[in-house]
């Protein structure tokens, strides 16, 4: 389980080849159709870059559910335990003060802080978890020198198939793409180590 999660963290992995066949789309519906057809070729390493979330894309791409909620849950629980332990140690062990005759360890008074620390831990872990799983920060990308690919942050959609994919077959992919409304089919990036 742990190894499985580690294998999903991009920046712990060895550098892969970043060379791939890319093309541009003007409409999300055309992109969805092409991804569906490419998936039927058995390709597993398809990447898609869109300027906004395209509904249904996660289904055609067969993307697994994000692992981030688990990180949030675990961090939240840790935060809860930390808050209980911290308040118990401070109020009942280290510096005992009688407040209004209440017990030194009084649950109701501690609840707001338990809640706050739980939320704080969960929120921070979610933020960090999201960065880790998205491979951020990322300082280099095969896309940064390609003007068309940069349009995928504005008004176009980029589809990208990595050459390292075991099922990669250029002629077949070109065949599928040629029947679609896509343009600017070209190679992007360089072979890595």
């Amino acid at each position: 389980m742990f190894k499985k999660i580690l294998s999903k963290i991009p920046f712990l992995q060895k550098k892969k080849t970043y060379k791939g066949l890319a093309c541009q789309f003007g409409e999300p519906t055309h992109l969805l159709e092409s991804v569906k057809d490419l998936k039927e070729l058995g390709l597993s390493n398809i990447e898609v870059y869109t300027p906004y979330p395209v509904h249904g894309l996660e289904k055609v791409l067969d993307l697994p559910r994000s692992q981030v909620p688990w990180i949030s849950l675990i961090a939240g629980l840790i935060g809860f335990v930390v808050a209980v332990a911290m308040q118990w140690w401070m109020s009942a062990v280290s510096y005992k003060i009688n407040v209004g005759g209440k017990p030194l360890f009084s649950g109701p008074a501690f609840v707001p802080i338990m809640f706050e620390v739980t939320v704080l831990f969960a929120a921070l872990a979610t933020f960090v978890g999201l960065w880790v799983f998205c491979g951020l920060p990322k300082f280099a990308s095969p896309f940064e020198n390609d003007e068309r690919a940069l349009r995928s942050t504005n008004d176009e959609f980029t589809l990208y198939v990595c050459t390292s994919d075991p099922q990669f077959d250029e002629s077949k992919i070109r065949n599928v793409l040629s029947s679609k409304k896509c343009f600017n089919i070209r190679y992007l990036g360089e072979e890595g180590e």
């Binding site: 249904g56 209004g100 005759g101 109701p108 707001p112």
Partner: protein, 392 residues
């Protein structure tokens, strides 16, 4: 307007459907439990009246929650909830009946409320007296009926005429309605429930009743939706709608816990006898167990169950959680009301069970009756198409 995906068969309840058989069963249950109420009243009027107040507040909870969710839908101009609006609207049809249900309360004021005969409460008599209590209750109902006529009724009129101004009027009135609703439900809760113990007061009490009510009402709506879906209706309502309903149920339940704890924390911290008496009363005898059961059953268990995404998208788990929360709201009201009847121990017998069944069967009969009369979806709502295409 081009409406896709809707077939007539999914929008109108077939008059010969099994749902109507369920309605007959509910009617039988309602008659039986009503009879039990009458018999218990003859044997022990006080016990029966307190249980009646409990059933009445539960019934009104569901009715008012229906009104609240309809108002919120319009006030926020929500798109996604157009397909579920008819369900919340159908609950508001209980409100006119609620006015009739207050009559036994008015007749039993002397038994239920000590302020109606206690001379130690002379200084509160200006507010707490029989006539003013009855007038106030009638006033609350007239406000709710006003909102009902301005926001719920036009929605059914829109089924006949395609008119955008109807929607715009509902938007306007729901904003006014929400303000009026907030005040009236708060005062109603104070009048009906808090004055059972006229020496005690809590400024958050109205919100407490409101928070519990909207959870119970939402749970009831989810159960009706699940029933309709099971019988082949409302197929346009997809799991994204369910997910949103689940999120609301989860969130509102946390809101209830937040309000309940806020009330407890301040009273616990202040430690003033005239305030702590409320919680002290609820630690005597078996009331102590009831008090511990409430945070566990009303908050912790539903919280854990509804936390995950897949649970909220699963209609079976969501329905089970809804049944549980519907029960827990009754336990909550029971915990508020019954210590004033039996301070030594929590009474639990046939009458208490009957009260719950009575309340739910009454609401069920009315809701199914109304749903059977009109299309299950507001077919001419200008935002319907967006709701049908609702995705994450």
């Amino acid at each position: 307007m081009n409406i896709t995906n809707i077939s007539e068969a999914h929008v109108y309840i077939n008059p010969e459907d099994r749902i109507h058989k369920l309605k007959t069963i509910a009617l039988v249950l309602f008659v039986l439990t009503s009879a039990h109420f009458v018999i218990s009243f003859l044997a022990s009027p006080k016990h029966a009246l307190f249980n009646y107040l409990l059933s009445f507040s539960n019934t009104m909870s569901l009715a008012l929650a229906g009104l609240f969710w309809t108002l919120v839908h319009h006030a926020t101009k929500a798109h996604w909830s157009v397909v579920i609006r008819r369900i919340s609207e159908s609950f508001t049809f209980v409100i006119p009946f609620g006015l009739l249900l207050t009559i036994p309360l008015f007749l039993g004021l002397d038994v239920l409320y000590t302020w109606s005969h206690d001379h130690h409460l002379q200084h509160k008599a200006l507010y707490l007296n029989d006539v003013f209590f009855i007038l106030r209750t009638i006033f609350y109902f007239s406000i709710w009926l006003l909102i009902y006529f301005k926001v719920v009724k036009p929605s059914y009129k829109q089924d006949q005429v395609e008119d955008l101004s109807i929607t715009q009027n509902m938007w306007k009135w729901s904003c006014i309605g929400l303000v009026l609703f907030g005040f009236t439900i708060s005062f109603a809760a104070i009048d009906w429930l808090m004055t059972l113990d006229p020496h005690w007061f809590s400024t958050i009490f109205g919100v407490y009743y409101f928070a519990g009510s909207i959870v119970a009402g939402l749970a009831a709506m989810i159960l009706i939706i699940s029933l309709l879906k099971k019988h082949g209706y409302l197929q346009v309502l997809n799991e994204n709608h369910l997910h949103d309903l689940g999120k609301l149920l989860f969130g509102m339940n946390v809101f209830w816990a937040y309000i309940a704890f806020s009330q407890y924390l301040l009273i616990w911290y202040g430690n003033i006898p005239e305030e702590t008496i409320f919680f002290h009363k609820r630690t005597v005898g078996s009331w102590n167990e009831a008090s511990l059961f409430l945070p566990l059953g009303h908050f912790l268990i539903p919280f854990m169950v509804l936390l995950s995404r897949s649970a909220k998208r699963n209609i079976t788990i969501l329905s089970l959680a809804s049944i549980w929360l519907l029960l827990m709201h009754y336990v909550d009201l029971y915990w508020l009301i019954m210590p004033n009847f039996s301070p030594e121990k929590a009474p639990l017998g046939l009458l208490e069970v009957c009260g719950w069944v009575w309340s739910l069967s009454l609401v069920f009969i009315i809701v199914i009756k109304i749903l059977g009369k009109h299309p299950l979806i507001p077919l001419k709502d200008p935002q319907l198409q967006v709701s049908l295409e609702h995705h994450q």
